[in-house]
């Protein structure tokens, strides 16, 4: 019942895929992390537009993705987001692409690279963490109680979302300027989806994926990061065979916003010029 109502999935609108740069060139795909949307890349992407096909998108549930495409089962694990990412790459072609992932999307990219090895030939992981929760000798930086506290924090910012954000984000995909006018809109989303993504992100364990990564990988780490500490970045570097690590003289979890020049330099030095 209802099975005839569902059309063919339009990946571009599902994930609000936005392309720029040189058509037909090697794609460089930027994936935003937990919290905000593709605007996280706005200082970084322009530096690569002269020689790459640059692609940004929103994970389902964020930014101007199609909220109706949120499937609690599919999007209940990093694999679901990785499958979305693989579909985005198939849509833009040609493959393989360079992947640049921030925060939890670093591990979404790793998962995608293991699921569909033809999709990426280089991975850039910014502020990656394969597991946020401490575990028997492994220091991720958080306890499970901390994650419950985060969910409570998301709840506390729930009401503001429902009254002010919902009509704008849900109802007017054809009038994006309405969204721009609202403060906080880059990082606002449906509370249920935010909770789900928070759980998926902070309860995930991708440590077993790391040794299986078969493409050259760059870890970009801030010298201080309360979400993914330098020791966590070093762990990722140690466990991905063909990897290197750059430690930026920047603090915080979002060097793509706070230190774009250093972030760009690190990526540019790692990724061969496709021209």
């Amino acid at each position: 019942m209802g099975r005839y109502d569902r059309g063919i999935v339009d990946v571009r609108s599902r994930n609000n895929v936005v392309e720029s740069g040189v058509a037909g060139r090697k794609p460089m795909v930027f994936a935003h992390g937990f919290g905000c949307d593709q605007h996280m890349w706005r200082h970084v992407v322009p530096a690569f537009e002269d020689r790459f096909r640059t692609v940004v998108f929103d994970h389902v549930g964020f930014g101007r993705s199609d909220l109706a495409a949120f499937d609690p089962e599919r999007h209940g694990s990093l694999q679901g987001y990785a499958d979305d990412l693989i579909e985005v790459c198939a849509e833009i072609g040609p493959q393989p692409a360079v992947f640049v992932g921030h925060s939890v999307s670093a591990m979404i990219g790793v998962r995608a690279a293991l699921t569909a090895p033809e999709v990426f030939d280089r991975l850039v992981l910014i502020g990656p963490s394969p597991r946020y929760i401490d575990d028997d000798g492994y220091v991720g930086g958080f306890s499970e109680a901390d994650i419950d506290d985060l969910l409570a924090s998301l709840d506390d910012n729930y009401l503001g979302w429902s009254s002010a954000m919902a009509p704008v984000i849900m109802g007017t995909p054809d009038r994006p300027e309405l969204g721009e006018e609202l403060t906080n809109s880059f990082c606002a989303t449906d509370p249920a989806m935010a909770r789900s993504f928070a759980r998926v992100t902070f309860l995930s364990d991708s440590r077993a994926d790391l040794p299986r990564v078969a493409v050259p990988t760059l870890v970009v780490q801030c010298r201080e990061d309360a979400i993914a500490a330098p020791a966590v970045g070093a762990y990722v570097h140690d466990h991905i065979p063909d990897s290197e690590m750059v430690v930026l003289d920047a603090t915080g979890h979002c060097p793509n916003l706070s230190a774009p020049a250093e972030t760009i330099a690190a990526i540019a030095a790692f990724v061969p010029d496709p021209a």
Binding site: S153, D156, L159, T183, F186, C187, G252, C254, S258
Partner: protein
Amino acid sequence: MPAADGRAPLPAEDLATLYDEAPCAYLTTWMDGTIARVNRRLLEWTGWSEADLVGRRTFPDLLRVGGRIFYETHYAPLLQMQEEVSDVAFDLEVVGGGFHPVVASSCVAPAQGDVPAHVRTTLVDATGRHAYERELLAARRAAEASEARERETAIVLQRSLLAGWLEEGPGFAVETRYRPAIEGLEVGGDWYDSFLLADGETLSASVGDVVGRGLTAAAAMGQLRSAYRALASVGAGPSRVLDHLDDFVARVPDAWMATVAAIELEPATGHLRYACAGHLPPLLLGPDGAPSYLWAGRSAPLAALPRTEPRPVGEAQLERGGRVIVFTDGLVERQGRDIDAGLEALAVAASRLHALPAAELVDRLVEELLADEQTRDDVCLLALTRT
């Protein structure tokens, strides 16, 4: 000198007093979050001394861990992207235990000369608001849970109205499809059913259509389908079943003028008996896909006319590999198009697709025939194959 309204003049307040004695907490941080200046209110709320904070701690250091993560993943990026953030709820940790709920807003002061960019933040006490909002949220969650339970109950009840049909048996297989007119409902006024008669050898199949849409039609449909099942099971045959249904419908106003296609098949011999009360004719497909509509056995919708004669019955032969497709008008009827054109379209499509497995055949038929649908009606289809 007194002011014009007779009040005593305000004493002079220097900026430091305004800053420290404000009813909200102020803090100024560098772009990396390191605290550069705080007011007395903040020290009062948190229990820190100025020396503990300035140059030594960051704003997120003052927050409970959940807020710290939220700060790094939402607040700081927003500040970078739009240079201001407003109305974000945080809990300040209090030295020695406990916490103090606040609502934070920040704006970026751009770099000027030697002074690098920094952030001005105001924290407003939210103790009362916090408790109230948690209550609102709890109430909302309770309402959502209650709605989910009701929805589940409704779904179970609705599905029960179409439950219990027989998919296959010796010599036959049945495939059905259903699409309610009202989005969000599981059923409408249409039904399908299939079951073995009391003799254990004859298959009874029916498709019916109660006038109207939505739950009222669905409730009447449920009654009619059950009545049909009870009447047909004993082996009264299509004609008498429909006659008895006339009497039944006379007492169920919502089911008045319902249409029914009643079919009985002996799978062993392929002998088919059928009667249509106001219903569109079933489509017979030979094993080679040759289509023909079963136009005999026609009579008026249920309880439409006073009856003196028994309803007529048609007979046909269903070869092995042949099919009978029984459907409701939602599949073929379109505004501004002759019903014969719809029937022709169905016959052509069914004939072209006849060799497909039954499940695929009915999927394709629904897909193709509803492609030009304009107004949404209940759609129901039953395909009976003699195997």
